[in-house]
């Protein structure tokens, strides 16, 4: 009899990897969920999540029907933020229209608008706004006040000049927006959406994968072999890292093509970040499955992890807007760091020197999660 030789780690790892690839590519549903679904969702969300405010439906109430009031309304509506949806006869009628959702804003001129302006008494214009979406409301009211303050300034200057006085010097800030000059939402949001979809699909597949093996009894057959637990877990994850990289490459391709997302930095760096990110998400899935008795529990566990992780990542709500006690929690959130890496590389052309912290944090979180998963897994065997 020969004393049993410890099987080679490389052979064991390759066997698990191959088996996992075989099972995954044979399962059409998993492949769809992993590759096609994130692609479709990125496209859909990319179009849907648009924080630019334009074409706000607006009604005009103009009892004066004078040349100046009509000209004011025309020029205000011409800049594209507001879009005329018709006229109403009174402020009450306009307000009712907003209540009914027919319009989001109303511009109400006074009966003596032109006379008031020409007499120099000052003219008032009432703006009614639907405050349901605070961002939209702010942008709309900003557009209206900017228009009227510029108008007022112009009138004042004309009046001073007419009376022979020199108008005061104008102060006008000229902002130059770096990296996203058009302030388009998609280049900012699409990397975030990709990070979010990636955490969801990879956490669920890895959590369910191990739970399924437990449920089917195949795990027991694996556990009587002398395979090292850490190799089993790493080998099970590895194919999904490859698939995850593929998905990221596809998403970036689609993002560049459909949403004009720039690629200013190194894709190699982005892929390194992706691998570290997947280590955390797949590791979280494994950890979830080690505390689950079956697939159902693993599924619930997947929700318990991914939903708070997405909500507390800064993708949905700015981290600065969170209560102070909640903010430190986002430091443990891999999504936050990965979104920073993605945006940094793609939008700002950031390099290793700028992103080493983000990469290091992901590595630490990933290794910690994997260690916890392996320990839990080992303990459960005893």
């Amino acid at each position: 009899m020969t004393a049993p030789v410890r099987p080679s780690a490389r052979v064991q790892l390759a066997a698990v990897f191959r088996k996992e690839v075989q099972q995954t590519v044979r399962d059409r549903r998993i492949m769809f969920m992993l590759v096609v679904a994130p692609l479709i969702q990125t496209v859909v969300f990319g179009f849907a999540v648009d924080f630019e405010v334009d074409r706000v439906p607006t009604v005009v109430v103009d009892p004066d029907r004078s040349a100046t009031s009509r000209e004011d309304a025309r020029r205000l509506l011409a800049d594209g933020t507001l879009l005329s949806t018709g006229e109403e006869i009174s402020a009450e009628a306009a307000s009712a229209g907003i209540d009914a959702g027919r319009a989001s804003a109303a511009l109400v001129f006074e009966r003596r608008a032109e006379a008031d302006r020409l007499s120099g008494r000052g003219q008032e214009v009432q703006v009614l706004l639907d405050g349901t979406d605070p961002n939209r409301t702010t942008v709309t009211s900003g557009a209206v006040s900017r228009f009227f303050s510029e108008l007022g300034e112009r009138l004042a200057r004309e009046r001073l000049e007419a009376s022979g006085q020199t108008p005061p010097a104008q102060l006008r800030p000229i902002p130059r927006v770096a990296f996203n000059p058009g302030l388009a939402t998609a280049p900012y949001m699409v990397p975030g959406i990709a990070a979010m979809l990636l955490v969801i699909v990879t956490t669920f597949t890895s959590a369910m994968g191990l739970a399924r093996e437990r449920e089917m009894g195949t795990l027991e057959q694996v556990l009587v072999t002398p395979i090292r637990p850490v190799l089993l877990l790493v080998g099970k994850m590895a194919p999904f890292v490859v698939i995850g990289l593929l998905v990221v490459a596809l998403l970036i391709g689609v993002g560049t093509w459909l949403f004009a997302i720039p690629i200013r930095g190194s894709l190699g760096l982005l892929f390194l970040g992706t691998v570290l990110y997947l280590l955390t998400t797949l590791g979280a899935g494994l950890l979830i499955s080690t505390v689950s008795a079956n697939q159902q529990q693993a599924f619930l566990g997947g929700f318990l992890f991914t939903i708070p992780a997405v909500l507390l990542s800064g993708l949905m709500t700015p981290i600065l807007a969170m209560p102070g006690w909640l903010r430190p929690l986002t430091l443990l959130n891999p999504i936050r760091w990965y979104a920073e890496i993605m945006r940094g590389v793609l939008l700002r052309g950031a390099g290793l020197a700028d992103l080493w912290l983000q990469l290091a944090v992901l590595l630490v979180i990933g290794v910690a999660i994997m260690a916890a998963a392996t320990l839990r897994f080992r303990r459960r065997l005893g």
Binding site: M1, A3, P4, V5, R6, P7, S8, V11, Q12, A14, A15, V16, R18, K19, Q22, Q23, R26, D27, M216, G217, T218, E220, Q221, V222, L223, V224, T225, P226, I227, L381, G382
Partner: protein, 320 residues
């Protein structure tokens, strides 16, 4: 890591006990299994057979007691034990969604086999188990008998010293069962020790020794013949002839007659050999009107043993 001396037992269980909460599934079980032996482990549902196997192959930690398998202590050196054993669990547990060959390649890899050697070995086992040509078949599409043989192939890829087979023939048709047992005997004659549980008492006859489990306790352990001698001291007789049905009543209540049962066209009876023999039974039946009476001695079956053991245990339970 020391190899056991030749002749030393390959499996040694010492006072193995496993409790689940307050329930004792396996209660202080001790036994030894010798090299190359086919060791049968019998017991009713829930007797603790699978739990014993799971403690021997390192899947389950015993609550108390120790086990050595293939010369290694299961608690102290589980990896060496795992490398030396094969295991077929009660529930089929290869990957149903993978082709036959992929299952063998995966488990072979887990045992450290690779490359050409692994493929050759896998092909050899498919041949041995009558699955040649099924390499690409999806495992889940195989009929039950083939699945069981594939599971056996997966368990012996790495030429283990000991294989644990937990009800390997449950739910398999009689022809497939026979084929499976041919494989088991082949393994054993090649020097592999086989530890097998079963519900089929006819199969247990193939075992060199049998352990009988009742409610977590090992209540009997011997060769099939030894068990029969110990547990069925009565002589089992089979009477054939004409008009036996009418004459059977004459036997009931006679001195030395333990039981009489119609069996096909004949009678099955158990007698105390000290008081009544074949000739005596023949005389009684003939006197009662039966003709052409022939009485033969029959071997008691393991079923008789099993009923006797369980019966005594049940009475024991009732008394205490």
């Amino acid at each position: 890591m020391s190899a056991p001396a030749p002749g030393a037992p390959v499996i040694e269980a010492r006072q193995l006990t496993r409790r689940f909460g307050s329930f004792t599934a396996v209660d202080a079980v001790s036994f030894e299994v010798e090299r190359g032996e086919i060791f049968g482990y019998l017991g009713a549902n829930g007797a603790g057979k699978s739990t014993t196997i799971r403690m021997l192959n390192g899947l389950l930690a015993p609550t108390s007691g120790t086990a050595r398998v293939a010369g290694h202590d299961v608690a102290a050196d589980p990896d060496s034990v795992k490398a030396s054993i094969g295991y077929m669990s009660q529930k089929f547990s290869l990957y149903l969604d993978l082709p036959v060959m992929e299952n063998l390649l995966f488990f072979g890899g887990a045992y450290g086999l690779f490359g050409k050697a692994l493929r050759v070995r896998a092909g050899e086992l498919l041949e041995l188990t009558g699955l040649a040509g099924q390499d690409a078949a999806i495992t889940g599409s195989l009929p039950g008998g083939m699945r069981q043989r594939l599971a056996l192939a997966g368990a012996i890829l790495h030429r283990p010293e000991v294989v644990f087979l937990d009800e390997p023939t449950a739910g398999v048709d009689p022809v497939a069962r026979r084929a499976f047992w041919r494989l088991i005997r082949q393994l054993s004659s090649g020097g592999t020790t086989v530890f097998v549980t079963t519900h089929y008492l006819d199969e247990a006859e193939y075992c060199r020794r049998i352990g009988l489990m009742v409610d977590g306790r090992l209540v009997a352990l011997d060769s099939p013949a030894g068990l029969k001698r110990t547990w069925v001291p009565d002589r089992v007789l089979v009477a054939r002839g004409q008009g036996l049905a009418g004459a059977a009543a004459a036997l009931a209540g006679r001195d030395g007659v333990r039981s009489v049962q119609p069996f096909g066209a004949g009678l099955h009876l158990r007698v105390d050999p000290a008081r009544l023999d074949e000739a005596g039974v023949g005389r009684i039946l003939s006197a009662a009107g039966a003709r052409e009476v022939v009485v033969d001695r029959a071997e008691p079956s393991l079923e008789d043993v099993f009923l006797a053991v369980v019966g005594r245990e049940a009475r024991g339970e009732a008394v205490t």
